[in-house]
Amino acid sequence: MMPTWPTPSPPQGVPPSNVYTATYPAPAFTPVQVRQTFGQSYSAPQPSYPTAHPYGPAQSPPPVPTNYQSSAAPPPAADEQPRKKVEWPDSVRFYVQRSFFPANMDPTVSREEMEAKLKETIMRASEDNLLYSIKWETMLLPQQIIKKEREDRAKAIAYSAQVQNPYASTPAHISKKRKSADLEDVANLSITPPWRTGQGARLEDRVTFSKDKRQATEESADNTSKLNKYEKRQKRFNGGYVSTYRSPSPPPGDGPVVGTCEKLEKNYLRLTAPPKPENVRPPRVLKNTLELLKKKWKKDQNYAYICDQFKSMRQDLTVQRVRDDFTVEVYEIHARIALEKGDLGEYNQCQTQLKALYKLGLKGNANEFKAYRILYFIHTANRTDLNSVLADLTPTEKKDKAIKHALDVRSSLALGNYHRFFQLYNETPNMGAYLMDMFVGRERLAALCNICKAYKPDVPLRFVTEELYFESDLEAAQFVSDHGGQDLLQEKDGTIVILTGKAGQTFENHKAKAFARVDIKGQI
């Protein structure tokens, strides 16, 4: 029988340097390796220890990357093995594979421990018939489980002995680890989105779990289809942050938390219990986090990661009841980034908070964001809120450049003055153009409808280009044909004209559709 379960025994005669010749990641090999490993592990619980074991030396823990290069050898052997009754689902295989990703390795957890834990986890799942219902994608990796158990133990000790938390002593070490892991997560977004790794998965675990408890086996098929749907939905959202379900908030504790966490980065997890100080970063740390995130955003432009990080930052501020100028800064930056990425859901959360924060008299760019607010309500056609915004503005604010611009945009639209509207579009201050982009399309359609009714028999394309502020005649022509007007474009006396007289209802339907309810809940 072939060696199946990866064993800790150090292969004799394999110099450590060999380990580093491996190229990572090597996905072409890993699935095979996994299949081989798991196809037999349970049928042969007593692994033998051959000298030519494919894995690197496990005795010297840090670092413990798998030598994928040499693991190429076993697959044929694996295929020779008779197929076992237990078919491991792909998700389990990926889970194992993921566990051994070099980036996910933890120097503090030995391979031996990892493998034992991995085995234990999967065995238990198999025994409980949960192999197909557990969300392996979000399952904690063995090394994470181990670390967590250690942490819990440490915490218990720390609590009773009232000593400093064990991680404070090795902050640099830990944070370095975290960083790389997070970066790797981000890089492998399609495999393990950051909001699903580690703690972030808890919510989903819980949701599926409650179901499992009731009818684990009967419903597993149904479950997977549901999960697939969920996954599809996430794909649709293009790897962005998704949070629609809100569990009831936990009851407030006795007072604000004072954080002791020294890590710079932290994944976001919606709280379901009072926060623990060791998981909360104090403002001093958060200030460094903000600088780090700013740099990362400039460099990587990875929105899913940034959004997640900002959310955890906001949470840390909230649980510590930090409401000062720094809080405003965090929210403002997050709002701007969300705007840039067109994530209106997240933007709106920030905006709502900012409104409250400004009300407390905190410093920030209140006018800039008030202007956004107005533009936002124009986009969502929320007349009630628009009215409230108007009611809240002071005469001085109304004179502010950005706010005045937003107010002018509003009134130009109210009066159907598209000429004025597009002029204003062209001179939008700050980042308001990102918001205006959201509704400029529908306003162009409306204006086009008007023009088609009013100008007969035709208008030069150039006129439309200029009136509706298209970048070029080409863009204008594209817009016209995109909305069913390709037949209306014609050359006449050397210029391209739009046959407005023949337009009829061409643009009306598109207009009606564009003005139909604006769905703001869809966050990317």
């Binding site: 908030s249 009851p251 407030p252 504790g253 604000p256 938390v257 709280l271 926060p275 906001r314 949470q315 909230t318 649980v319 009841r321 959360q349 709502t352 908070q353 409250a356 009300k359 407390l360 007349r383 009630t384 628009l386 009215n387 409230s388 108007l390 009611a391 009134s411 109210a414 009066l415 159907g416 003055n417 598209y418 000429h419 004025r420 204006a447 409808c449 008007n450 023009i451 009714k453 009013a454 100008y455 007969k456 035709d458 208008v459 030069p460 006129f463 009136e467």
Partner: protein, 453 residues
């Protein structure tokens, strides 16, 4: 009414005649302080002057109610127990209210009154209170809202004790803490009425509209009109097994229709809004001037949008406030004075915004613009008479420049031709939307001047 034979007598009489309003009067907190104080003492004075224990008071009330001089036929033990809780809560509130002018402890009054309304809800849920007693819920609900507002007014905004560590906090909401709470309680009462499965003749559903109106008022004050919409949705869903709307008291109909109309108004659904507001207007008592004024505040802008008509002087005559609000604007619209219209709108902006009619009135500018165009057209006069004796013919073309001049009239601002054309295009679009398209009513690009028939 003081706790004593008279009260118990009244309770029995109200019960015998099944007169809910009479019964509700016995728990009204709307009394002068002296009287409240008397009620408070009426329980104490009986015994020796020690603060009476709650149980003793309850026992006393129970004795009183059971031995009411009016015969309490068929009153069950549970029902009496329920009423004891209600009267006990009432008695406790009177103690707070009697001194509230000095102590300003409106929060206490609110909390205590909430105990009363909860006792009532309990009574309906478990103690077999009958549907004819729902006026008690009216009194309870009405005053709960009033106490909540008083309490919020007396609470400092900085009191953030309840600030949970949620991601969203809002000082606005903190300002209305008790009123928010009140809305939740009223919502429970709403469900209590709605969920009654008894036959209509003896159903709590007859209390629905009174409670809904209270909810509307609360939600409007909280600026949470979305929640009002929810109520309407629930109501529409359950309309099948409800008494006919028109068999409810007219006062309730008017208030309900008014709010329903305003809600539509806020959503820019002016046709529906006009329907509801008109019904409210027609049902409203002729002397309820304040209510009529409120209805008109929204009905007039509504009418302006749907029918392009302005209120007559006669209509506004009895309402000086409305005259001040609408007349300047109406004048400008009528005369097509665009610039003056803008000024008038600006002038009263705060007032309009406060009443949430600014955005609607702003659209009156279109009508002013149309009237201006008409004036420019008329000022254009006639085509030169070609032949002696011919009938003069109106000039049918209006140069864009002339209309532009008309728009700039009275203001310093100059409007460029493209913008004028844009405004004209808008008007044409509006006309052609409803009518078959008039051929000769269009803008000619080449000559850059509009023509009009």
């Amino acid at each position: 009414m003081e706790f004593g034979p008279a009260l118990y007598q009244e309770f029995g009489e109200a019960r015998k005649t099944r007169d809910g309003y009479r019964l509700a009067k016995t728990i009204s907190p709307d009394l002068p302080p002296a009287q409240l104080s008397n009620i408070w003492k009426s329980v104490n004075s009986a015994g020796n002057w020690k603060a009476p224990r709650d149980d003793d008071v309850k026992a006393a009330i129970k004795r009183g109610l059971s031995s009411s001089p009016a015969r309490l036929d068929g009153i069950g033990h549970k029902e009496i127990k329920g009423w004891v809780e209600v009267y006990f809560a009432y008695w406790q509130t009177t103690g707070i209210l009697a001194e509230v002018q000095q102590t300003s402890s409106w929060t206490n009054a609110y909390e205590q009154w909430k105990v009363l309304i909860n006792a009532l809800i309990q009574g309906y849920n478990g103690h077999e209170f009958e549907a004819w007693t729902i006026p008690c819920l009216y009194v309870a609900g009405k005053h709960l809202r009033l106490f909540a507002m008083q309490a919020d007014e007396n609470t400092s905004v900085n009191d953030t004790s309840a600030a949970a560590f949620q991601d969203d906090f809002d000082p606005e909401l903190q300002k209305h803490q008790k009123l928010e709470d009140c809305a939740r309680v009223l919502n429970r009462v709403f469900s209590l009425c709605l969920s009654d499965r008894a036959p209509l003749e003896e159903s709590r559903k007859w209390g629905l509209y009174y409670i809904i109106n209270l909810l509307f008022k609360t939600y409007f004050k909280l600026n949470a009109t979305g929640l009002s919409k929810n109520v309407l949705r629930i109501l529409t869903a359950g309309r099948g097994d409800m008494p006919d709307f028109h068999s409810f008291p007219k006062s309730q109909q008017v208030t309900f229709k008014y709010h329903e109309g305003v809600l539509c108004f806020l959503e820019e659904n002016y046709v529906e809004a006009e329907k509801h507001l008109t019904e409210a207007w027609n049902t409203c008592h002729k002397d309820a001037m304040r209510n009529k004024e409120l209805i008109l505040t929204y009905l007039i802008p509504c009418h302006l949008i749907t029918t392009h008509t302005l209120p007559t002087a006669k209509l506004l005559e009895p309402y000086p406030r409305l005259q001040k609000l609408f007349l300047p604007l109406c004048q400008c619209i009528k005369k097509g004075e665009l610039h003056k219209f803008d000024l008038a709108l600006q002038e009263a902006e705060d007032e309009f915004v406060k009443r949430r009619i600014y955005l609607t009135l702003e659209r009156g500018r279109d009508i002013a613009l149309r009237n201006l165009l008409r004036k420019v057209f008329i000022a254009g006069g006639f085509e030169p008479v070609a032949k002696e004796g011919d009938k003069p013919v109106r000039r049918t073309r209006v140069p864009v420049a002339e209309f532009a001049a008309g728009i700039s009239l009275g203001s310093e601002e100059k409007v460029d031709n493209d913008e004028v054309e844009c405004l004209l295009a808008n008007m044409i679009y509006k006309v052609s939307r409803n009518l078959p398209y008039p051929r000769s009513f269009c803008l000619g690009r080449q000559g850059s001047h509009g023509c009009q028939d």
